[in-house]
């Protein structure tokens, strides 16, 4: 086996030094009753070339671009990834390193993540960002746990327009800690209904997502005004951070914690993972943050360098009193996001965000022209909800290798025949015109 360097001679010499007669004898400290009785029942090892054939056959069964045209977002977004980014993150000095516990020989990872923290904090309008969490959903769960620690109140209000999967993850995390979760309904305009919020006492946190699950931009400033000066922390979540290349940041609207999914920033969709849990907050909460932090410092010669810092919050020091149990996070995805944002720059970020917005507005307009109803009027970014009255349309398009959005009925039963449609920079005008034409044909019957 090409990954195992030992020759028979090596093994014999090493066994002699160890004082064991055979490889089996190395395990003599394991009681007989604990030994496995049977050989591993696994297939014969594949050669590299057999593996290629096997994996290619499996990969071919997947519906992906360019063969398929997807108008599907809902927490995972198809964006172009520059060859330079894929190439750079393949540098094995980044990918085959461990968590940078030994800073002198990990400065590459450390500086790259420090830069990621800086970019993330600026994008979200916050003071500080951590080195990443697993994904957007677990980041939100950690944000609510953190808010409860700070406010010492275990009651949280959560918008029903937060991604349904994220709400499931929150419930999983918060259940044993005996949180009370109040779900805020949504308005006819497709935003979180804040009318009841003022009357709920003792809230540790209010959490909304913007753009929300329907693609609509929430009135973050209104929530910021409600929570300012109270014990309640304002937590904003997101699934599409590119929106902040165009829209005002959560921090500028009064958020205390901003967290969400960073997959859009150069990370392949990979059937939902690995993603990137982005997490940022105000300075005064930094010692309550979950996850790793990289800080700038100096070496003995006074040269700039970077280290893991504020570790006293963390599980390996603080044990059961840690701010989180997280250890391995999404380090390489954080570096990927930084590479992607570095490639865009401030100018490119605005241009790309604007293109997503304009394309999505184009499809919205064309659908309306063709007589389809866009369900919610509020401003959106690159996703919106539209009604296709005839359920046959979705299937007909699928047969033509077009995925016309996400059917919402299983998430919101009141929205049968409604679809969450996404348009990023990867969809062309011709793709969108084709979609509208097909829908028109179905509509005419």
């Amino acid at each position: 086996m090409r990954y195992l360097p030992h020759t028979g001679e090596d093994i014999a010499e090493m066994l002699k030094v160890v004082g064991a007669a055979s490889l089996d004898e190395l395990f003599s400290s394991i009681p007989e009753a604990c030994r496995r009785k049977t050989e591993l029942d696994l297939p014969e090892p594949m050669t590299e070339w057999e593996l290629n054939d096997h994996m290619e056959a499996l990969a071919k069964s997947m519906a992906v671009a360019p063969e398929y045209k997807l108008f599907l977002g809902a927490g995972s977004y198809e964006h172009h990834i520059p060859a330079s980014v894929s190439y750079l993150l393949g540098r094995s000095e980044f990918s085959t390193a461990y968590t940078p516990y030994q800073p002198e020989i990990s400065q590459g990872t450390l500086q790259a993540i420090f830069e990621y923290q800086s970019l993330t904090a600026a994008l979200l309008g916050m003071d500080v960002a951590n080195a990443s969490l697993y994904d957007g959903a677990s980041a939100l769960a950690e944000a609510l746990l953190m808010a409860a620690r700070i406010s010492r109140q275990k009651k949280v209000a959560v918008s029903t327009l937060i991604h349904p999967h994220y709400r499931q993850v929150i419930r999983t995390y918060l259940e044993p800690a005996e949180f009370e979760i109040i779900e805020l309904p949504y308005t006819r305009g497709g935003r979180t209904d804040l009318s009841g919020l003022e009357n709920i006492k003792g809230l540790g946190a209010v959490a909304v997502q913007s753009p929300n699950f329907f693609g609509c931009i929430e009135d973050l400033a209104a929530i910021g005004n409600l929570t300012r000066g109270t014990r309640t922390l304002f937590v904003t979540s997101f699934t599409e951070p590119l929106a902040y290349g165009l829209y005002k940041s959560p921090g500028s609207q009064g958020a205390d914690i901003a967290c969400g999914e960073g997959q859009s920033f150069g990370i392949p969709q990979s059937f939902g993972g690995p993603g990137l849990g982005m997490f940022a907050c105000l300075k005064q909460y930094v010692r309550n943050m979950p996850g790793r932090l990289i800080g700038q410092t100096e070496d003995r010669e006074g040269r700039r360098g970077f280290v893991l810092t504020l570790a006293t919050r963390e599980q390996h020091i603080r044990r059961e009193k840690a701010t989180s149990n997280i250890c391995t996070n999404s380090g390489l995805c954080a570096i990927t996001a930084a590479m992607y944002l570095a490639s865009l720059g401030g100018t490119g970020l605005r241009e790309l965000a604007r293109l997503n917005y304009d394309k999505s507005e184009y499809l919205k307009k064309e659908l309306r022209k063709a007589g389809f109803k866009v369900a919610f009027d509020g401003p959106t970014f690159n996703e919106f909800v539209v009604e296709f009255p005839n359920g046959a349309a979705y299937q007909r398009l699928l047969d033509q290798k077009v995925v016309a959005g996400l059917p919402l009925a299983s998430y919101f039963p009141e929205l049968s025949d409604h679809y969450l449609v996404c348009v990023t920079e990867t969809r062309t005008k011709a793709d969108m015109d084709g979609l509208v034409e097909e829908l028109k044909i179905v509509k005419r019957g």
Partner: protein, 489 residues
């Protein structure tokens, strides 16, 4: 013998990203604009961010230079204990990056995503076979996430029995994340000590196990590198009081094909695909922490589960006792595909990998034990733990020695862990290191020990060769500077 690898090349300086570029440059190809600009509600629009604008070549040079300041498994031996820094096969990277996998949307109709679903299903079966457990969830995104999943299963199991247990037994040889994972589920850790052999004695557990204790979290082999030889008896004690046994499988690399966790009383076990199953650690993730359970706990596993009906794969949420979801989608298929490729490439040879990992560790232990203090002198599994006791009289610490190892071209071992050994040096070579490389590592360590006596300054000021010398961690924590200070930070 080979020469030591440590040397210095031309190390290039590179500023922070924010100090680079010039307004108006672009490092990415923006797609052609084929629609008109739409109007926007200006009250919602933000300002253009003050990110640096760079050309593609500036981005490439920036990150290429940063990468050269790093040490990875591809650079050299990385004997970080309990982290299993084995070689990360390159074909695994190729498989995961196939467009059919990398470009797959997680909410595709299942009829259009059979390939990935089949991989998820088959990897679950492989991991069940390797561990001797019955059912597997691939959803947890890392080891600590797997521990949390395991503790949530404990919680749900006891709840289903109508009880709310509040304690959990955690030995001093368990992994560092265990207590924090348990605390998230409302369990307070009851710390117990290992015995003079470096393992748990059944008596210790019998003394603390009661009807208010949810169970035990045991790392096996433990962080001293020993197999918990009393595990069956311990499991019986815990089970008799209605508790469950959780095994942290971070050290699974020692016992593939040798021990069936399912046969020794373990109820829940997590694995680290980024340790045992060769996926790259990425400088801090992403990883994957699958959780394996015995049949009686299967109803509690996270949803969705992957089902196979005559070769047709689907995702099901129909498990009413499930603990719920832990990840936005299904965990990290990008990592799972790499581990699947590894297992298909290795097959039954996985047992050989464990045997050679244990051989390498014992070889290092034997050859270094006359030079470094070995607190537990007995055969080890995949890692061995030394201490700096012999160097105490020279006022040389573990930290000084391992910093000096860098100059010889090695990544340091894990240090000051486990806490049960003062000044611990925990060495895990893994099976992918050759005898020659291990011999050079041993020689390097001997040199360092010799220098400790002859020229301690050399160690106290080490490392000398990397781009930076020791960094001031105290002031980093006292006055945290966590961003480069643009934006409003």
């Amino acid at each position: 013998m080979k020469e030591f690898a440590g040397a210095t090349g031309l190390i290039l300086q590179e500023p922070c990203l924010m100090e680079l570029g010039r307004k108006g440059r672009l490092g990415i190809s923006i797609p052609r604009r084929d629609v008109e600009s739409a109007s926007i509600d200006e009250t919602l629009a933000g300002e253009v961010l003050n990110f640096p604008d760079l050309s593609e070549v500036e981005v490439v040079r920036h990150y290429t230079r940063l990468s050269t300041w790093n040490f990875g498994v591809d650079t050299g031996m990385y004997p970080l204990g309990s982290c299993t820094m084995k070689y990360n096969p390159k074909t695994n990277e190729k498989q995961a990056s196939r467009p059919g996998f990398a470009g797959a949307h997680p909410l595709l109709p299942t009829s259009l995503s059979q390939g990935v679903l089949r991989i998820l299903f088959e990897l679950e079966r492989c991991l069940a076979e390797i561990t001797g457990m019955d059912a597997v969830s691939l959803q947890p995104a890392a080891g600590a996430h797997g521990e949390l999943t395991g503790m949530l299963v404990f919680y749900a199991y006891h709840k289903s029995k109508g009880s709310r247990r509040t304690k959990i037994i955690v030995p001093d040889t368990a992994h560092g994340t265990n207590p924090a994972s348990a605390a998230l589920c409302g369990f307070s850790p009851v710390n117990v000590s290992s015995n003079e052999r470096g393992v748990l004695s059944a008596q210790t557990i019998a003394e603390v196990m009661d009807e208010n204790t949810a169970g035990i979290m045991v790392t096996n082999p433990n962080t001293l590198g020993f197999f918990e030889e009393n595990i069956k008896e311990i499991a019986e004690i815990v089970h008799a009081k209605g508790g469950l046994v959780y095994a942290d499988g971070a050290n699974m690399n020692a016992v593939m094909g040798i021990v069936n966790a399912g046969d020794i009383g373990v109820d829940v076990l997590h694995l680290n695909l980024h340790k045992t199953f060769s996926t790259p650690h990425g400088g801090g993730g992403p990883g994957a922490g699958p959780v394996c359970v015995k049949r009686h706990l299967e109803p509690f596993l996270p949803v969705p589960r992957v089902l196979d009906e005559n070769g047709k794969y689907s995702l099901s949420y129909d498990f009413p006792q499930s603990i719920g979801k832990l990840h936005a989608f299904y965990g990290n298929p990008g990592i799972i595909i790499r581990a699947y490729s590894y297992i298909l490439s290795m097959g039954k040879e996985l047992k050989k990998a464990s045997q050679l990992a244990v051989l390498n560790a014992n070889y290092i232990k034997e050859r270094l034990k006359g030079f470094l203090h070995l607190p537990y002198d007995r055969p080890c599994m995949h890692e061995c733990v030394f201490s700096d006791k012999n160097q105490a009289s020279q006022k040389i610490t573990t930290l000084d020695m391992v910093k000096r190892l860098m100059d010889y071209g090695f990544h340091p071992p894990t240090i000051y862990f486990p806490l049960v050994v003062h000044g611990a040096i925990m060495i895990e070579p893994t099976e992918t290191e050759s005898k020659e490389d291990i011999d050079v590592f041993i020689e390097a360590f001997k040199q360092v020990i010799k220098e400790a006596g002859e020229n301690p300054e050399l160690l106290l000021n080490a490392p000398h060769r990397p781009k930076v010398t020791r960094l001031d961690e105290t002031s980093a924590a006292r006055n945290p500077r966590l961003t480069c200070g643009f934006g409003n930070g």
